[in-house]
Subunit: 292 residues, 2 copies
């Protein structure tokens, strides 16, 4: 079968053997915001045409492709949800050259009853067998970081943190960006920012310190971006992580490395999951699904 | 004398009687970023020419006009600082038609030793006689909100919170802005946001709830901006305000009203100071200064 993690800005396709092994892969920038005029069907055919010609006829899609802004809206499935629950709630998509199904996103509420949603991360979570088997905490860092609690083989709870997007907005559109120049993302200044997030005063105060410390010469312009990043990621981790937790950090290596260091600074233990969690999750859901 | 609060985006001038009474006033948008090519001298003459012609010959300037981006850089004065300390540290500015002096900004460190700076707020603080006399806590809300501790007639400590600027960046440059439409700033949704800031999960999580609650239909698009504002202001207050404090809130009436409600929601007591604190502070400093 073919499994595709089709997000807002990226498209990643995997040709999968029956045992889940990745036989081939493709990646492009054709995320849903880069597909003009709703031409998802044409885009899909262009991307995976050779695999279809080679005989593949099952395609499973996860991620923002199933959102209102995507190809077809796949209704959210409420948590708790196991891989079999998700596999039983796929949405069929009309496509002339293969059977295409969409993985639903998940919804729930946080501890205070406020709505929560995810699309795509559930598939990555299901791609970590040890997490499904033993339960635990996962962190999927990024534009909208997710912290996920897995219990009894199901996704039992999760929260979203706008860390990456707030970093971009603050760096690009506040006074802080004026005195920042590119520099190392993961060094002493990043760690200083993570430590800073434990001080009194709150996030809105701590980020002003990026400017004040630069003004008085205590922070180099090339270190200011990493310090800001450390402050924001530190606040995310301290708010989301249970004390002393073991956290499965799922994502691209440079990001899992950054978060693993910050999690250690905040008193937790990180297990980096740099593999193809999305491919493994798509294989598992595809295997549990009814295709006929 | 003439007292001028000359900030980043606004210019407010007061013609003051010897007892501090405001005899006349002017306001314009000619803040320092709106003065081209460093033409501060010409701008000042255009704004207050008639008062100079009427015989005024002492001009006291406070605010960002004394910053590196302003007319002349007035060095920061370290805290603790009383009005007499500030009056003894004015910087003379060359100007052919009157004696012009700049009020210095203040600097210090927060509880963790991180640098802090203010320019202009010290003058407003000094314009509240009851605060100087009895000591206490002041809040000056805005783009960069200041929380200030006054003891023994001196500014003893302060912290800055980037609340207003982060609101603008998040609303204008993240996904949250896409589902926001103009609506009432100070109503039930604002208060819900302030209450939300007490929940677990942290600021970066709480603001994602603006999107999630809108997606599931629990928050109207016209209420989303006020809810976001309440979350941010609530986080500022809970991080900055000593428990059960009486807070002097200094600023424009619509902003002091918003903050007074939020301070009450967070368990504090607000005393709104909607008067011309800058004018009163300029009069006090000008009275203590050596002009000859």
């Amino acid at each position: 079968m073919i499994g595709i993690d089709w997000g807002t800005t990226s498209f990643r396709a995997f040709r999968l053997a029956p045992d889940g092994t990745i036989r081939d892969r493709r990646a492009s920038q054709r995320g849903i915001v880069n597909v003009p005029d709703g031409r998802f069907s044409d885009t899909l055919r262009e991307e995976i045409g050779p695999w279809l010609a080679a005989g593949e006829d099952r395609v499973l899609l996860s991620g923002m492709i199933g959102s209102r802004q995507g190809w077809l809206e796949a209704p959210y499935l409420p948590i708790p949800a196991a891989p079999a629950d998700v596999a039983a709630a796929l949405t069929d998509v009309p496509f002339d050259w293969a059977r295409v199904k969409l993985v639903p996103g998940l919804n729930g509420t946080d501890a205070a009853g406020v709505a929560e949603v995810m699309r795509g991360e559930e598939t990555q979570i299901f791609g970590i067998p040890s997490l499904l088997a033993a339960g635990g905490i996962a962190c999927l860092p990024g534009t909208h970081s997710k912290w996920v609690r897995v219990e009894d083989g199901r996704i039992a709870g999760f929260t979203t943190h706008m860390t990456g997007e707030v970093y971009g907005a603050v760096r690009g559109h506040t006074i802080l960006g004026r005195t920042m120049r590119d520099g190392p993302a993961n060094g002493a200044s990043f760690e200083a920012g993570v430590r800073r997030s434990a001080d009194p005063g709150g996030l809105l105060h701590h980020i002003f310190g990026v400017r004040a410390q630069t003004l008085v010469g205590a922070l180099a312009e090339t270190d200011a971006g990493a310090y800001l990043s450390g402050i924001l990621i530190g606040h995310e981790i301290r708010a989301a992580m249970p004390a002393g937790a073991v956290v499965h950090v799922i994502g691209a290596p440079e990001l899992t490395k950054l978060y693993a260091g910050a999690i250690a600074t905040c008193g937790g233990y990180a297990e980096r999951q740099d593999g193809d969690a999305a491919a493994a999750g798509l294989a598992l859901i595809g295997d549990l699904a009814m295709w006929d």
